[in-house]
Amino acid sequence: MFLRMSSDSPHAVTGERPVAHLVAKDVLIEYPTPGSDLITTAVRDCDLVLDRGDFVCLVGPSGCGKTTLLNAVAGFVPLSGGTLELDGRPIPGPGPDRAMVFQQPNLLPWRSVLANVTYGLELSKKVNKAEARSQAADLLELVGLADVAQKYPAQLSGGMQARVNLARALAVEPEILLLDEPFAAIDAQTRELMQAELLRICAARDVTALFVTHDITEATFLADRVCVFGPRPGRIVKEIQVPWGRPRSHDIRRTPEFTALSEEIGDVLYSAIAEARAAQLEGAAR
């Protein structure tokens, strides 16, 4: 096959190997099932390494635990086992060094667009108000919303709200950007535009990103590496290298290589689902 599964990641090209940024090892996440004594295992034996500047996508069927892993990195969910470290330190809880971009924009409706972007900076009190406003203005320029800075979220379209959401997360200059299906609620055309925008912004700001999606072509288009999640309990069944450098143009979507890579990711995903289903049936039969 022509697909390169070798280790020539974008960093390998530059010759130096940066220190690992986010390291997950044997991560186990369990939580009690509501209304019973049973314990649900959401994620088990999960290993993941992100270098600084990496863009990694987690793909998997819904309910496979990929969002749970993301929430654990964000600090919302405690680990039941294994280790999860950012720059060698375990994650204590939510913090502005890991900014989350949710599927719903969740903008504060009583704040103007600009005030929404400065929100994280205001909370962390790292910079004064004037500085926060000028940084936010720069970010709005970057996401192409400079002219609506004084409007309220209710006056924006869904795509514009998603951009504000992204700008707000970037404003706190996070060590790592966590994105939980941020474009799932946007129409298909806007979504493709936003994907290219995201890559451009990540390149401009040298962002490390962990991106959860169930959309295989989205993962192929965005990621340096695609981690395929298998269901129940969630674990990474395969990591697939994406050969193109970033940012990328929409043209690569039409290349046969892109299609082939997406198909390969799909094959891994569907066989993982089939395997899990077979195991489930076997367990039920026993």
């Binding site: 919302f76 502005p96 719903q104 504060l108 409706p109 009583w110 704040r111 209710a154």
Partner: protein, 278 residues
């Protein structure tokens, strides 16, 4: 059709069905106002005609012109100013205390579950009780002066404010809360940046409900024994069959209610500009 260019604005905005009409905020004469004012005028005329037809004697059903005359007589003496001043004082002080108590207590009930558990029995009991029924008790305790009236107004106005504030606090948008937590917001920051602004619309509508309740409070409290006040004036006039004077008092109450509600609506709009769409 082309018009000669004049500075005179169009009287009414033209509305096309289905299309978006451009609203002229500068023109006072909107469609809404024209129709509303006309309807009021029609109602007044009908009332006057019914009164003129003398279905009932003027002593029982005066017309608008009789009421206007009563107003003129009323304001020709100085007694009305004392009555107005006393009633206004009772209303405003009662409302003010109700806000000063209801707002923080409502915030506490909404924010701390345990405070809610402790206070809910009392709130539910007092809310379900017709508080106006406490009037005789409060007059025994506080006398027939202003303080018993202020207490009634306070009790009437307290609960709409308190309950609405607590409800606003309890129905925070969980998405906003999650965002604040994600940025590492402390409890105090969460309260200040998400809970308080999210509660403002609830507080505003609580205040508007409170105005209505407070007016009922002033009126009924003055009926049950008072030395001055518009309510007392009405009750005295009623006993003397000065029906048009009763109507005049009624309109004073109505005017107070409409004015206060309009002011609060302004305040509400100021704080809730973000709710208006594009």
């Amino acid at each position: 059709m082309r018009r000669a260019s004049t500075s005179k604005p169009a009287r009414t905005p033209t509305r096309r069905p289905g299309g978006r009409s451009r609203r002229r905020t500068s023109s006072w004469l909107t469609e809404q106002r024209v129709i509303g004012t006309s309807a009021v005028i029609v109602a007044l005329v009908v009332w006057e005609l019914v009164a003129l037809a003398r279905v009932k004697p003027a002593l029982i059903l005066p017309g608008p012109i009789d009421v206007l005359r009563a107003f003129r007589d009323l304001f020709s003496t100085s007694a009305i100013w004392t009555d107005l001043w006393v009633s206004a004082e009772e209303l405003l002080i009662g409302l003010l205390i109700a806000t000063l108590v209801g707002l923080p207590v409502g915030l506490l009930i909404g924010w701390y579950k345990r405070v809610a558990y402790a206070l809910n029995p009392f709130v539910n009991f007092l809310y379900a009780t017709p508080r106006i029924a406490l009037t005789p008790l409060l007059i025994i305790w506080l006398g027939i002066g202003s303080s018993s009236k202020i207490a009634i107004v306070f009790l009437m106005a307290l609960f709409p404010i308190l309950i609405n504030t607590a409800q606003g606090m309890q129905s925070l948008d969980q998405g906003s809360v999650r965002v604040a937590r994600c940025f590492g917001a402390s409890d105090l920051q969460l309260f200040r940046t998400v809970a308080l602004p999210g509660t403002v619309p609830f507080v505003a509508s609580g205040l508007r409900l409170a105005v209505g309740q407070a007016l009922i409070g002033v009126f009924v409290a003055e009926l049950s024994g008072a030395t001055h006040g518009v309510g007392l004036m009405m009750s005295t006039a009623g006993q003397q069959f000065q029906t048009s004077k009763v109507f005049a008092g009624l309109f004073i109450f109505a005017f107070a209610g409409v004015t206060l509600t309009a002011v609060l609506r302004r305040v509400e709009q100021h704080f809730a500009a973000w709710r208006l769409g594009s």
